[in-house]
């Protein structure tokens, strides 16, 4: 049996070159190289070549790989309560997101990950989720009996149902062919991903519903991390991009996209306050449905979120 070098860290993620998330790993690589006697030597499997998130997470927990980047949906297969963060209109503004994430969420979830043998090294912003479609869907009424693609996330399925659309759960590669044949009329997605996957050509209407805020996270195998020297641990923690860095990268990337939608063949719809209220109303019951569907500590975490929101509104 061969032995991996002691300072090697195999890293798993599903990212695409040229996106903030892929770049964040390259930034980490550069920073680690700047240390004297490179404390950690990363080996990257970050294009999804080691399989789905469910499978990658399984390999991380078993120590086959040591470090990884995951989405909320992927990580919710071991901490189902994470699915709550995708509840519709949980957050109103980016400032609120930042405040609640920083003050309330991290400590609670750190403990939950630790009990699953993982270390939460940091959060990675993914951004607002919006609705795209072949014909404009400005209000939930426009979605009535439209066929919308849902992902495997409970929140995604609840959203599609709550606005009266027909739910078509599909794996990612089926999105484009299904838009072409009319199996689906649209779906929900972050805007960067929407543009990247070439969806605008078939479904050019993007409504900035901003109904959910998606977040990724950096996780390490706890047994491996605990066995590192303090020098290595610090080097790793300090080399990963901070949430602030990722936030600005993702938000800049999204702003660039939204500033010139026409060049990408996108017709942008910005709901008015009244229209946004309609979306909120239509999906209001989804919070309780999510809590019930997730079970476990969902109720407790939800209370925590609400306290965080309250603290935000009364902060000075």
């Amino acid at each position: 049996q061969q032995q991996a070098p002691a300072n090697e860290a195999k890293i798993v993620a599903i990212t695409v070159p040229g996106t903030p998330w892929y770049d964040s790993w390259m930034v980490m690589d550069q920073r680690l190289k700047a240390y004297a006697e490179q404390p950690i030597k990363p080996v990257f499997y970050i294009s999804g070549q080691l399989g789905s998130e469910e499978s990658a997470l399984s390999q991380l927990r078993r120590g086959r790989v040591q470090l990884g980047g995951f989405s909320l949906q992927g990580a919710s297969s071991i901490v189902p309560e994470l699915g709550l963060l995708l509840a519709p209109y949980l957050f109103d503004t980016l400032e609120e997101v930042d405040f609640v994430m920083d003050t309330t969420i991290s400590p609670a979830f750190s403990d939950m990950f630790a009990s699953q043998g993982l270390i939460l090294l940091g959060w990675a912003e993914v951004g607002w989720t919006n609705v795209y479609s072949r014909d404009p869907i400005i209000t939930p009424a426009d979605a009535n009996h439209k066929k919308l693609r849902s992902s495997n996330a409970k929140s995604s399925q609840l959203l599609v149902q709550a606005i009266g659309a027909d739910m078509v759960p599909l794996p990612f590669p089926d999105i484009m062919p299904s838009l072409q044949t009319g199996l689906i009329d649209g779906g929900e997605s972050g805007s960067i991903f929407y543009a990247l996957a070439g969806i605008p050509k078939e479904a050019p209407h993007l409504t900035l519903t901003r109904h959910a805020f998606d977040t990724g996270m950096f996780l390490a195998n706890k047994a491996w991390f605990d066995a590192l020297t303090p020098y290595q641990q610090d080097a790793l923690r300090n080399s990963l991009p901070t949430l602030q860095e990722l936030r600005s990268a993702v938000r800049a990337s999204e702003a660039a996209l939204l500033a010139d939608p026409a060049s990408r063949g996108v017709t942008l719809h910005q709901p008015t306050a009244a229209e946004r209220q309609l979306w909120k109303q239509a999906t209001a019951k989804n919070h309780q449905r999510l809590i019930d569907g997730i079970g476990g500590d969902a109720e407790k975490i939800y209370q925590l979120l609400q306290e965080g929101k309250k603290k935000f509104s009364t902060r000075d």
Binding site: Q1, Q2, Q3, V16, G182, L196, K201
Partner: protein, 417 residues
């Protein structure tokens, strides 16, 4: 030394008359133990990952649909009609197999599904009509690969996402090369079959058409259903199963319930012998990915690349090598981000390079040891691996000719964009 040990192991298992499944499993265990820092038990984790995937779902269902059609008379009715329809052309039935693959490919994003959907009905018919075994296997395996170059195509989508190229442009770019490949295969078939007996159109054509209307509606239902957005190509398999059952049980009344059970059981034997091999092939793929073998090949080759011709030559050699040992999805995830910047720096168009890459990896479906269509054909057509490999050889050469054309004539890919 370790490689020598591996060869001895394989030889010993061959002498001990072990099944393919056992030989593959032993090779994997040996490789995980001696060539990798990955623990042995992760073989099973990879095997589980290979099985726990949605992409494989349509394989058992198309196998079942094909077996049901052949157990009743639907397959025979369809092929009788096709034979009458193409009777004036020598090799007409083989030609219609090629065209049927191309038509199905236009609805399906996968090559193995295309091979199975068409092959399970047409392979027995080709043999019954006196076509040489090797030609029949080769034609179906090769035309089956059209599934990923004729849009829609899962590999083209993956390439588009990985390189930020427009998926719609990639789909458009696939048509020209797909046409050339279909034409090449068709011409070859007609040349090989030029001495096969022909006939004249007769009233038989009308009779066989009348007899096969309901049977012909099966492919029409499948294709129409996918095309008008009622179901995906995966789900189409199950529609085909139920349509076949209804027609053969209730309309033709030629099948009874025990026949259905018996055919289903036969399909289970087939799945039980095919899936373990498929699963272990995916494990081997995981092993090579984990060892970063394709990445290292690129790194090693890129030091020799400085001009457009050397890039064309070396990247194609690399892709052909990679395609023969790992599966096309992994090859794209790993190689597209590595090769695209080199291609761009030498002024190759991203779309054109992508199409070239897909055509190249398409050949990997036909190249041993890990050619997926070879493995599927071996088990679905009940032929030896050696026989299937031999059958594929002329078609590999043919598709390499196609690859050469695609690589040297960018306009073939780019004229629609």
């Amino acid at each position: 030394m370790l490689v020598f040990g591996l060869l001895v192991l394989v030889l010993a298992l061959l002498l001990l008359r072990q099944p393919v499944m056992v030989i593959l499993a032993a090779v994997l265990a040996y490789s995980y133990y001696f060539f990798s820092d990955s623990e042995l038990r992760f073989i099973i984790l990879d095997a589980w990952g290979a099985l726990n995937k949605e992409v494989l779902l349509s394989i058992p269902l198309y196998l079942l649909a094909g077996n049901l059609m052949s157990a009743g008379s639907m397959a025979k009715r369809i092929t009788d009609f096709l034979r009458e329809l193409t009777i004036i052309v020598p090799g007409g039935l083989a030609l219609s197999a090629v065209l049927a693959c191309a038509v199905f490919a236009a609805m399906s994003g996968s090559s193995t599904v295309t091979l199975l959907a068409v092959g399970s009905v047409l392979y027995p018919a080709l043999i019954a009509a006196g076509y040489p075994k090797r030609l029949s296997i080769g034609v179906l395996c090769a035309a089956g690969t059209l599934g990923i170059i004729i849009p829609p195509s899962i590999p083209l989508i993956l390439y588009g996402v990985m390189t930020k190229a427009s998926i719609v442009d990639l789909f458009l770019a696939g048509f020209g090369p797909a046409f050339v490949l279909t034409l090449l295969i068709s011409i070859y078939v007609l040349l090989v079959c030029r001495h096969m007996p022909t006939g004249k159109y007769s009233i038989e054509l009308w009779y066989t058409f009348k007899r096969s209307i309901l049977a012909l509606s099966a492919p029409a239902l499948v294709l129409g259903g996918i095309y008008s957005g009622f179901f995906t190509a995966t789900e189409a398999a199950v529609v085909a199963v139920f349509y076949t059952l209804i027609i053969q049980l209730l309309v033709y009344k030629e099948m009874k319930w025990p026949d259905v059970v018996q055919t289903t059981e036969k399909t289970c034997y087939l799945i039980g012998s095919l899936f373990p091999v498929l699963m272990l092939a995916v494990c081997l793929n995981m092993f090579l990915t984990y060892q970063q073998l394709p990445d290292q090949l690129v790194l090693w080759l890129s030091q020799y690349i400085d001009t457009r011709p050397t890039f064309l030559l070396l990247s194609n050699v690399l892709l052909l090598l990679t395609g023969s040992i790992i599966d096309i999805g992994s090859a794209i995830l790993i190689l597209a981000p590595l090769l695209k910047p080199i291609a761009n720096s030498l002024d190759f168009n991203t779309i054109h390079f992508g199409i070239m890459m897909i055509v190249n990896l398409e050949i990997g479906y036909l190249t041993p040891p890990m050619g997926l269509n070879l493995i599927i054909a071996m088990s679905a057509f009940n032929e030896s691996f050696l026989e299937v490999c031999k059958a594929a050889v002329p078609f590999i050469l043919l598709m390499m000719l196609g690859l050469l054309i695609v690589a040297l004539v960018p306009q073939l890919s780019l004229f629609l964009i």
